[in-house]
């Protein structure tokens, strides 16, 4: 089991010592052109989670390749690049420009941008033609038939799945009833998301048997065990990194006496029952 960060939940350049605790660093999503992101306020705390509407703020492909990626390599990190876009060609062109990294995660599920992307399978197929690098498709659990989406991207050539992205949510000011986020709605993350993540990993692993990076509400070693038991091969930390930059070392210590291969074996039984 590799321990990663969820895309958008860590900047290795401002916190290299946190990124170096992980087995791989996943970048914030890179789009062809620079994006400032959404107007603030962009975050809101909820009862057992948080909402964000950052809006894919990033320096754009050109500056990422020229400035950010070389600095990430200097840190000796195993780099996963999260790739976003607004049509299949956007994704494929970025994939074609990437080399010398561990894997590509295709962000097919950002809840915080308006523009509609092409279908997930179409994007994956275009990226598959553009790169030999391992491709992971990051999906949203909001789809009514997630297993079907997973099978479609598997058929289109992904090597693995990243599950789950945030789910769209909303928070209101208690007195004014106005949305807290300037954008109105945002992506829900944190402990609220964990049961959703377990179900999504369980469903998609049963549907495809592909390697899955499980994420969503992981705060401790037990959460990792639960995701692995549902079929996750690797696990990513997200919102917990905001409150606890030492979480990678802590979670690893909590798993020290656990045989995760044995836990993973139980996924075959439980997903077999489901399938």
């Amino acid at each position: 089991m590799r321990l990663l960060n969820a895309s958008g939940c860590l900047d290795a350049l401002t916190a290299p010592e946190v990124a170096q605790q992980l087995d791989g660093f996943v970048t914030k999503t890179i789009t062809p052109l620079p994006r400032e992101g959404n107007a603030p306020p962009r975050i809101a705390e909820t009862a057992h989670g948080m909402l964000n509407a950052i809006g894919l703020a990033n320096p754009g492909r050109e500056r990422f390749l020229a400035e950010t990626l070389p600095r990430l390599h200097e840190l000796k990190l195993s780099v996963w690049v999260s790739v976003g876009g607004f049509c299949a060609a956007d994704y494929a062109e970025t994939c074609a420009a990437l080399a010398g990294i561990e894997a590509i995660e295709l962000n097919l599920s950002c809840p915080n941008v308006d523009e509609a992307a092409d279908g997930a399978a179409e994007i994956v197929a275009a990226c598959r033609r553009a790169t030999q690098l391992p491709l992971f498709a990051k999906l949203s659990a909001a789809h009514p038939d997630l297993g079907e989406v997973a099978r479609a991207v598997a058929a289109a050539g992904v090597d693995g799945l990243s599950l789950v992205n945030t789910l769209r949510g909303m928070a209101l000011h208690p007195k004014t009833h106005a949305p807290v986020l300037a954008r109105g709605q945002g992506g829900l993350s944190g402990p609220s998301l964990k049961p959703v993540a377990l179900a999504a990993v369980h469903t998609c692993y049963a549907a495809t048997r592909l390697p899955v990076v499980g994420m969503g509400g992981v705060t401790c070693g037990q959460d990792v065990i639960d995701l692995v038991a549902c079929g996750a091969r690797d696990v990513a930390l997200g919102t917990v990194l905001f409150s606890d930059p030492d979480a990678p070392a802590r979670v690893r210590a909590e798993l020290a006496s656990i045989d995760l291969d044995e836990v993973f074996a139980s996924a075959h039984e439980s997903t077999h029952v489901l399938a």
């Binding site: 939940c9 401002t14 603030p40 306020p41 975050i43 964000n52 950052i54 905001f242 409150s243 930059p245």
Partner: protein
């Protein structure tokens, strides 16, 4: 170098409308005035960003206003309780100024007692919305104080190097009056170390992370 440690609450005091939370310092560095710490808010998912108010030997003290569930939970702490604290973070005030004037508005006075201690003798002007809030000026006994409807900007005379912290309208007014002033801003923040991109503010016409670029910025 920022560290994250669990610190014990040594005392909780009421200061006018505010609460002064004193923590045993542990291995944490107090940092530069204007830098901030992320304090675990019991029962909440996210920590809260607070600038250091006082740094007596062996302690770190934070001035708080209960404005929501996080700050309410922090104000309800009692001596002996423990919370995780991460810091110091961000960029503080530049202290190498010739003629400092410290300007604070409301809870924005929080970093000024530590700043006054570190910068040496400097005049201080403070503005508050009520007499009860103004009682917090006891932490800066030599300060000149006004209460609304009077505004703290009325007390700023020309020729000073202004270091200010307060609500956004006050900071904008100070920035207009005193180009080159050092202004300590505030924004909702989930992490405090550049990870979440939540605290974006417009700097030089671009949205940037306040926790990385600030929270103290030069007025344009």
């Amino acid at each position: 170098m920022p560290r994250r440690e669990r610190l014990s609450v040594s005392n909780v005091e009421t200061v006018g409308a505010y609460t002064l939370l004193r923590l045993e310092r542990g291995g944490l560095d107090p940092g530069i005035p204007g830098q901030f710490f992320m304090l675990e808010a019991p029962g909440r998912l996210l920590p809260r960003a607070l600038s250091l108010c006082l740094a007596p030997a062996g302690e770190l003290a934070f001035l708080l206003e209960a404005v929501g569930p996080g700050t309410e939970a922090l104000c309800a702490l009692e001596a002996g309780d423990g919370i995780h604290v991460f810091g110091p973070l961000g960029n503080g005030f530049r202290l190498d100024v010739e003629r400092p004037l410290l300007v604070g508005g409301g809870i924005g006075m929080a970093p000024l007692p530590y700043l006054a201690e570190r910068i040496g003798r400097a005049p201080v002007v403070l503005g508050f919305r009520t007499e009860l809030h103004a009682a917090a000026s006891a932490l800066l006994p030599d300060a000149e104080v006004v209460v609304e409807p009077r505004l703290v900007t009325e007390l700023i005379e020309p020729g000073y190097d202004v270091l200010a912290c307060g609500p956004e309208p006050m900071l904008r007014a100070v920035g207009d009056l005193c180009p080159g002033a050092q202004l300590a801003w505030e924004a909702p923040m989930a992490c405090g170390y550049g990870a979440c991109y939540g605290c974006a503010v417009e700097i030089d016409g671009e949205l940037k992370r306040l926790c990385v670029e600030g929270p103290v910025l030069a007025a344009a």
